[in-house]
Symmetry: C2
Subunit: 687 residues, 2 copies
């Protein structure tokens, strides 16, 4: 029945009409079996009302009740889940908050700001290998990094203008440099989101443990618990709410600026803060040289991770979006530069030393503020902003993964939003991968740093190179200047990325350098698989399929006479007037018993016994079906396979998997349709 | 169509008649679809002749060709398998060899005889802990063990007479003491078969490596290779051929007796063999005491493993079976006693010391014969008889497992005989478990010995206790004497079993003591599962099932329009004139696109769209089907689930498993039949 010429337009009643179509001429076949047309409708009025509301002709819309399971046990589980993660949200409930600049700064800068908690320390840790005397290089290196930050900031200002709908590295690189560059950028980003979570949470716990030494021995479990906590919050579907972010971010910024001001003033007054009682971490000696310098620089560049956040999030700004985003970007970079340089300066003058039990930022804070509440507050705010940085990854990783999944580069489930509109698969994947990264490194920040920031700089480079290409293609007003800025940015970040790869290669960077191509290859493979599948399954769009007119033979393959077989025979007899039951027998006697039972209990069913002197069951059955088929090559053989639905894992050991083997052999053959008829074994008293 | 009143009796033609039943009134439904009755028969004459021969009315017998796969690749694989394991054997080809006494002795005694290769060494290894001075206890312990052997021999003579059809411990204990005792005996036996393989092959390789030291470092891989070799031979379906066994066994017995005679004569002449240049194995010191003595005794009892073999194999003897079996049993025990005492005696006088590179038997043989060919021959014969001992386990384990499987205590596949009539599952399981045992113990015999023999003595005890019960029940002539003999045997072996458990507990015996109850519990669980399944699936034998007269609604659940869905719709339209396609849509637009495509490409099919604002697919679908069902509670809803047959392991990651989830939810509901319609994705060019 083709609906389109006769759409049922009868208000809400139409939804019911959809379900009981008797009056549209359907009663025919049922009437033959003794049912009066129309009696279906009399029995239950609008039985769907509990679960569905009317949507449009022929369309029902599921209500929330339709999603609830039936069993009391499952209902309780669902209740617990809703209590934990909140009630399900409908797709239309998605909120799009527009952020004023001061909130946007908080949302987008927590990642980049939080890196001052470990960047100075990362530089010192590397220099420590040559001896504390080389700590004099801390300030020059910090200045170099801030110079790079200025370049990148100006470069991203161009992107913000050009991609007001959000210019993530994957989008920009994909659009301008092609699929491969886009995927490399995406893989690099995904790696760095994982490392952001690992580094941020590890650094946060380390800072807190610097103030509360009792936590040091349990820091790995604490880190893992934090990651799982952030995961749970995200599964609940947290909004990137500006209000939540603003608190810890501004407290952190305020305290940091206060600390720097205090420290600088004290230094100018000749009472510079002094760190004492800290034993340097034991590190193997290494002579100072270009490589060590470059490595210290590279490790310090972890300060810049997260700079791209504003460019990704332009649409969240209030209009005019790109103008506000640009302003925010500049303010963010200025704050970051100030805090980073200030921290490095105070670390220099106070004689802070990387150690295994005192974070450098905590040392500086304690030296500046003393063990006052201000010190503890700063440590707490550091933890807070580092957790928010991890939260940023938990928002971005699933979003990038969902874009990749939508484009066919990742499994589709990453594009699927759960009950709370969150991309559950991406959230869970990020948490698990981060934990897998954290545990072998023992949650030590300085061990994770060498892996970090490569991904960011690879994606910086690709994104800015993409922008250069963009300007050359567009050639809008002022394109030369924009292209130049982006070109310089690309060159600078590209150089840094190469320095990273060379200088940090043997210190762990090789892991990322190996993982990124593997990720890219996997993503390409996944898209190829999806495309192949689609091509193989596609129905030609111009084809109009007619009802099959071929004759058919219905065959039930049975090893015994049980309820599953009876169900299959009865299903089979709805398809044809004749049903064959084929039984492969191990000996004559057993075969005759089977025949006798079928003849007695299922009258009218045809029995064929195939004796298998070599005992295998599957192959002779297949051959028998081939013989049936060859008798009438035009007929379709419908093979019904009674199947016991496995109730327990051990069922696979206790019962043969013959049905699966037969299916594997038969499916895909011409003129053969296989129907599995699963049967769920019930309790004996149900007999 | 009930066949029994009208059996087609037309010679070979009847088999064809079975396949084309047109002349028996089947043409009807097909004729409606435009097929002329009878044309199926005209097309192909006797298409089955290649694969099947006529067996009886309605019975085809598969020829060997029916078992061959079709593809060239699979054909080559099958060919290779046949070359390796031999051509398939039909069930009727099973041979039953009757053995004369001298062959039977070889077949049944290799296990028990071979233990002289390690029993003396096992005693010395334990005594070594207290110091070589305590080696003086070797002979008293050996005499004790021989005394026990005499008791057990007389006890088993009773069993042989009472169970002429084979009196394995499981059978005797099960029949007389009940299921639990039978299962304990069976579990103990299975454990000991595994350990026989592990100990025998390890000891064989150790003996060979004593003569060829280059093999010592690779002994574990050698042991594993040997086990796999014996497994392969057994998969080929070796017969327990007396001829094969006789050679190595009699060579070993002859050389052992020659060695003992030579050694004893040389000792009497004052030129006793002297072992030299052997460093004792390093063992932790332990003071001599009762526990150490008992442990040495228990380890020496490994000499008695395999004594029960004759009683298990009574039917293989020539008539009068039980008389010949008894004689063989006595000869076997006498030979074992002589060889064991002789070896222990020579080990005592020659000063043999357990070491990590020289087996004690090899030391004694070298001291007696010198490095002559006789020495090397004895080492080779030792290896030979030890491999035959392992072979005995490979015959017995699968046989016991098959009996247990037949009784429902083990998965059914253990009762299934493969192409070569061998119990493949049991053979492979034995080899794998033995390897799993060998590897952690590094193939060291002295480490495996403490686990060994407990199982044997547990099953000895249960078997003999069962015999006592048997005599008390039967009360035939002379039953008191038989009961007394068995009672003494049971008491003795029971005491020994307890000594084992206590003395060797911490030396590894606890493993067996833990495994046996787990095995028994598993076997009981398996039988309960099978019984429950049977009860749940059983069809009442008096029930005559009629064709279902209820009306039915056919519903295809579709997420997209692809070939799998088209196939399902077409299969559905053979079942009813109306087919509903249900589609759960994420939004209105997507739903309408789906409807439009179905209406255009599958005219006559009814479309229902269920919008799912909360995005989950499965639950609203289930609810929709419930609504359909509630409209007409008497109707059967047939749900067709198009399914993509997974082609690769990664398909489970790339594609949702919605069909499986829907099936899990729906199967087992009243008035719902679920049909899986698997579709195999083909290559795009097949489009």
């Amino acid at each position: 029945m083709d609906e389109s010429p006769r759409p049922p337009r009868r208000g809400t009643g139409a939804a019911h009409g959809l379900l009981s179509a008797d009056e549209t001429g359907r009663g025919g076949p049922h009437a033959l079996r003794g049912r009066k047309p129309g009696d279906r409708r009399v029995r239950v009025r609008r039985p769907h009302a509990r679960y569905f509301r009317y949507g449009a002709p022929g369309v029902l819309v599921a209500k929330q009740a339709a999603y609830e399971p039936s069993g009391p046990m499952q209902r309780a589980l669902t209740g617990a889940r809703h209590a934990l993660f909140g009630r399900p949200l409908a797709s239309e409930e998605e909120a799009h908050e527009r952020l004023p600049k001061w909130k946007a700064l908080a949302v987008f800068s927590s990642d980049v700001m939080s890196s001052v908690a470990y960047a100075t320390e990362a530089i010192l840790f590397t220099l420590l290998a040559a001896g504390a005397a080389f700590f004099t290089y801390l300030m020059p290196i910090s200045l170099l990094i801030v110079g790079l930050l200025v370049l990148v900031t100006f470069s991203y200002r161009q992107t913000i203008r050009a991609y007001p709908s959000g210019g993530g590295s994957y989008i920009v690189a994909h659009a301008n440099l092609g699929t491969l560059a886009g995927l490399v950028a995406a893989a690099a980003l995904l790696c760095d989101y994982v490392l952001t979570v690992a580094v941020s949470v590890s650094a946060g716990v380390f800072n807190v443990a610097s103030a509360v030494p009792a936590l040091l021995p349990i820091s790995v479990p604490l880190i893992v618990a934090c990651v799982l906590g952030v995961m749970a919050v995200n599964l609940r579907g947290i909004r990137q709410s500006g209000t939540i972010f603003a608190g810890p971010t501004y407290v952190f910024i305020g305290l940091m600026l206060l600390m720097i001001a205090t420290g600088v003033v004290r230094t100018l007054l000749g009472d510079s803060p002094q760190v004492s009682g800290v034993t340097p971490a034991p590190v193997p000696y290494e002579a100072f040289g270009l490589m060590l310098f470059l490595r210290a620089f590279a490790d310090g560049c972890s300060a810049m991770t997260g700079t791209e956040a504003v460019a990704n999030g332009v649409p969240a700004f209030k209009p005019v979006e790109w103008v506000n985003a640009r302003t925010t970007m500049v303010v963010m970079s200025a704050l970051l530069g100030t805090m980073f340089l200030g921290t490095s300066y105070l670390a220099s003058v106070s004689g802070a030393v990387p150690s295994t039990d005192q974070a450098v930022l905590a040392q500086v804070a304690r030296a500046t503020f003393g063990a006052t509440p201000l010190y503890y507050l700063l440590v707490a705010a550091t933890m807070g902003i580092l957790v928010l940085a991890a939260q940023t990854s938990f928002a971005d990783f699933p979003r990038v993964a969902s874009i990749l999944a939508r484009d066919g580069f990742m499994p589709r489930r990453f594009a699927f939003r759960g009950e709370r509109l969150a991309f559950n698969a991406g959230i869970v994947a990020l948490a698990l991968i981060a934990i897998v990264v954290i545990i072998p490194f023992g949650g030590r920040v300085e061990a994770l740093i060498p892996l970090y920031a490569i991904g960011v700089f690879v994606s910086f480079t690709l994104s800015q190179a993409g922008m250069v290409r963009h300007w050359f293609t567009e050639r809008g007003p002022g394109w030369r200047r924009s292209a130049l800025i982006n070109g310089v940015g690309a060159l600078a970040t590209g150089t840094v990325a190469v320095i990273f790869a060379v200088a940090k290669f043997s210190h762990g960077a090789w892991i990322v350098i190996v993982v990124i191509p593997i990720l890219v290859a996997t993503m390409l493979f996944i898209r190829r698989e999806y495309r192949r599948h689609e091509a193989a399954m596609a129905v030609r769009p111009d084809l109009v399929m007619q009802r099959p007119h071929r004759s058919q033979r219905v065959v039930v393959a049975a090893t015994t006479v049980d309820r599953a077989v009876v169900q299959a025979v009865q299903a089979g007899s709805t398809m044809a007037d004749e049903v064959d039951v084929v039984h492969v027998a191990l000996d004559r006697e057993e075969g005759e018993q089977f025949r006798e039972q079928i003849v007695r209990q299922l009258p009218g069913v045809h029995v064929a016994i195939v004796e298998s002197p070599y005992r295998t069951l599957v192959r002779p059955l297949i051959r028998y079906l081939e013989v049936i088929q060859s008798e009438d090559p035009e007929a379709v053989v419908i093979v019904l396979l009674p199947e016991h639905l496995a109730a327990h894992w051990w069922d696979r050991i206790l019962y043969n998997q013959n049905a699966a083997e037969i299916r594997r052999e038969l499916v895909g053959r011409e003129h053969v349709v296989v129907l599995d008829v699963p049967y769920r074994r019930e309790l004996p008293e149900a007999a």
